[in-house]
Assembly symmetry: C3
Homo-oligomer: 365 residues x 3
């Protein structure tokens, strides 16, 4: 417990934890003040995500390379998963889809671009492993193809269309999870040395005892779930009040909030000239969401959702995912980076963010 408090003192981001009790109190007293609840829940999720990420790393560090890598890979996007599950349970499928599509695009463009920019402002030119980046972008491309197909294949008759889309979504989800599992076998077992740089770097920082780490993991997950519930309830009302479209909130705000902890790690690695680690976190996180979180949500929607969720994304979201993947392919092909490469990636992100911000609310479904 002392270690946990020391960690909180040391890491200023964790001071935001003060917003967690504040949020619960406010929800009791003023359940109708949606905008304030929304802002507080955003502020509360950031430090919780950071804690979750620390706890995951601590557990991973104690369990050996393979199991640890598996844990990191599976729980690395736990915050995004819990938020999406809460929205799924509430039947808010548009929000679920916007948040996962947004997380993929945000990790691919914002996290990668900002890493290149921050690294490039400190270092004149930075190198990173091309083969590792190529594998990550190829995985991401594969996932984008899977998410693109149900929207690209149009079926005229609406009754058969719905059945077709649902069957296809389940089939694709199984394929994606299989691809994800095999990618773990490849990167953690058979060809571990191809990813050496990224894997080694993450351990070493965390030194919590196992018990504390596991307890934190469990406890914080519950708190994140409770905060997510308030967040999901308030987000629609708040978006209207703040003049933001739900698409913008789901795609941009939720994604930035949910990924805050990983971004902190990626940016700090970039400034330390360990760009391999930054690229690994950004692209690895994006492909993990696409290959693991998304299909898990589709399959779980049959169990916990009010109705099954399919993989049919809003067309612009598909285009944005595809363009984000192509951008990542292009900029990582050279294995060399400078500040302007980061700027280029960030501008692609800004183009998407601006489009979503200006879009009339009704045109997303």
């Amino acid at each position: 417990m002392g270690l946990l408090i020391k960690e909180i003192r040391h890491n200023r981001l964790l001071w935001l934890l003060a917003f967690v009790p504040l949020l619960f109190v406010l929800q009791r007293l003023k359940p109708g003040s949606h905008t304030l609840l929304f802002v507080l829940s955003v502020l509360a999720i950031v430090p919780l995500a950071a804690l979750l990420s620390h706890a995951t790393e601590a557990v991973a560090a104690k369990t050996g390379d393979t199991v640890g890598g598996l844990l990191n890979a599976t729980l690395g996007n736990l915050t995004e998963l819990v938020i999406a599950l809460t929205a799924l349970h509430a039947g808010q499928y548009t929000l679920v889809k916007a948040s996962v599509a947004g997380a993929i695009v945000t990790n691919t463009l914002f996290m990668l671009g900002m890493s290149f920019l921050l690294g490039g402002l400190k270092h004149r030119a930075q190198e990173f492993s091309r083969p590792a980046a190529r594998l990550q972008t190829t995985l991401l491309f594969l996932a984008t193809v899977a998410l693109l197909v149900p929207s690209a294949v149009s079926v005229a008759d609406s009754a058969t269309a719905s059945a077709f889309t649902h069957d296809l979504s389940v089939g694709l989800s199984v394929l994606l999870i299989a691809a994800y599992g095999l990618s773990l076998v490849f990167s953690l077992k058979t060809h571990r040395e191809w990813f050496a740089g990224a894997a080694k770097a993450e351990s070493g920082e965390a030194s919590w005892p196992m018990g504390l780490a596991l307890a934190t993991l469990a406890g914080v997950t519950v708190v994140v779930a409770l905060v997510s519930e308030i967040f999901v309830e308030s987000v629609q009302h708040a978006a209207v009040t703040l003049g933001m479209t739900p698409a913008f909130v789901g795609f941009i705000v939720v994604a930035l909030v949910g990924g805050a902890a990983e971004m902190a790690s990626a940016f700090s690695a970039a400034r330390k000239d360990r760009l391999d680690l930054s690229v690994g976190i950004a692209l690895g996180s994006a492909s993990q969401i696409a290959l693991f979180i998304v299909p898990v949500l589709v399959l779980l929607s049959y169990v916990i959702g009010p109705s099954p969720m399919n993989l049919q994304f809003w067309p612009s979201a598909v285009i944005m995912m595809l363009l984000a993947t192509l951008t990542a392919c292009l900029v990582t092909a050279g294995g060399r980076s400078a500040w302007f490469v980061g700027v280029l990636i960030l501008i692609v992100y800004l183009i998407f963010a601006m489009t979503l911000y200006l879009l009339p609310p009704r045109d997303i479904s």
Copy 2:
């Protein structure tokens, strides 16, 4: 003749030739049993395609590098051409288009992916020539652009649209054949050494005398044409009976059957760690179909078809061809392969196959 029989004894695939007479007998006796005729014709085409491919190589080996290369390049997809011509003659343009689009996608994804997987299961990491692969993927990309444009440019008025699409299809066909011809000049004459690995490997195996080779080539082509006729007649009925969509049959089944012989060569080369040869066969075959077979079919449709055929593919087929080409570009950019790269490519193929399998039959035209 002794050589031919020896070949048949040696190569177990050729034992399937027994299905050829069986098929002709059955067609006489029970012309209405479409499903059985379909299955038998599929089984009969596989060994015939292997024989055709052997005979072509034998003729090519005797005629010197340039003429031999030309022969190999032109007759390498003779099976696909004969099947497509039969369907063209029968006016089954949907089947023709599905089979050529499917052959492009199957060669690019299935043949390449399975080569990487089979090679990777035996060898930890495999290298191949990046420049040769890059040229093949660029050729394929060019062909995809040509096949994409008539579907991408929409014309509102249906009367002018039809005239426009036909004029454009003829023009594009001429351009594609010109590109194909120049690619042969480039790879067989002016810059032969850039393709050295792939070219040298194919010769040497076949040692038939010229007369036997030519006779086999002519005779087997006729038999393939007869079998194709039964195949094309029965495929629609059989698809219904087997619960498969015509799109799935044309795109996947016909493509796998027609390419069986080349696949055998590509897979065997990959296991012998001659990945350059595998990549050359897979991508070369795909671009040959796109740049040569497809435009020849369009131009021949004016002569032997009931009405002119255009280059307007079903939109999902265009998307699949484009995504297959991009996948090939991505995975061959590094010049290095391992088993998981093969898995990735195969999963993209499975995504397409699953989509086509589930698609309601009416939604392809």
Copy 3:
């Protein structure tokens, strides 16, 4: 003045200047002969563009590397800018959009492809800097994304759609100009050595005194503006008479005419085996139009146009820009070229040109 006349004597392209007075005389005497005026204005623009380009280089050579680079970058496409501004002022937004989209596609495909082909016919294999080409193609890709988004995001309700598209166009224009400015900071200041080859090569040729260069720059710009006015007035009528669609004229003819001077430089550099320079001119010019000329036109349309112009391009134009960018990415990824690579790029250009030539006139807007 003597220098200017010497230049004109020396450079045969400049003999076409004789068409300038001829054009003005004809316009007085026969203002209705649109086709002749169109042909003469095309012939007159070519040498004027060459003069403009010489004068820009001369001014740039006198002003030091950074300011000179800036001038070259800003005034390098002055001819295209003046033509587009004249069309903008006349409210011919379809022509404006076709001409800028066409300039991007023509520079990316025709100028690059012809450079590769002409260079490759003289030299067996040519090398160029991959990192510089990669940065240029990434910049171009970014611009294509920005031009793609307003057309890709469809809004159902037409009233809000129009407001949305205009707001988005202004926002994107500001982003593009910012990206362009930062790219200049990057290539002219912070990382100048990454572009060393291309930058050094251009200076040295021109040796005009500053006064002559500035006077030529100003004088010729005025003449270009006057010629452009006749061109823009006559182009629609002439297109009908010559049996060409306005899309073809705007996309292909205007782009070839406006870029004639740069093409002459790029082709001559390619034949001298200085392919880095050719690639720099072709891709640099394309991205300059996309990142600077296009947003400037959108913003200026609020001042000098009859109504605001948006960034919504005709869908086929967007597809062509995207495919041209992908082609450039693919063919420059290797850093090596031969004649056939040029042929491949030119065939993609021919595919587009043929499509536009055959397209029924009404289907562009």
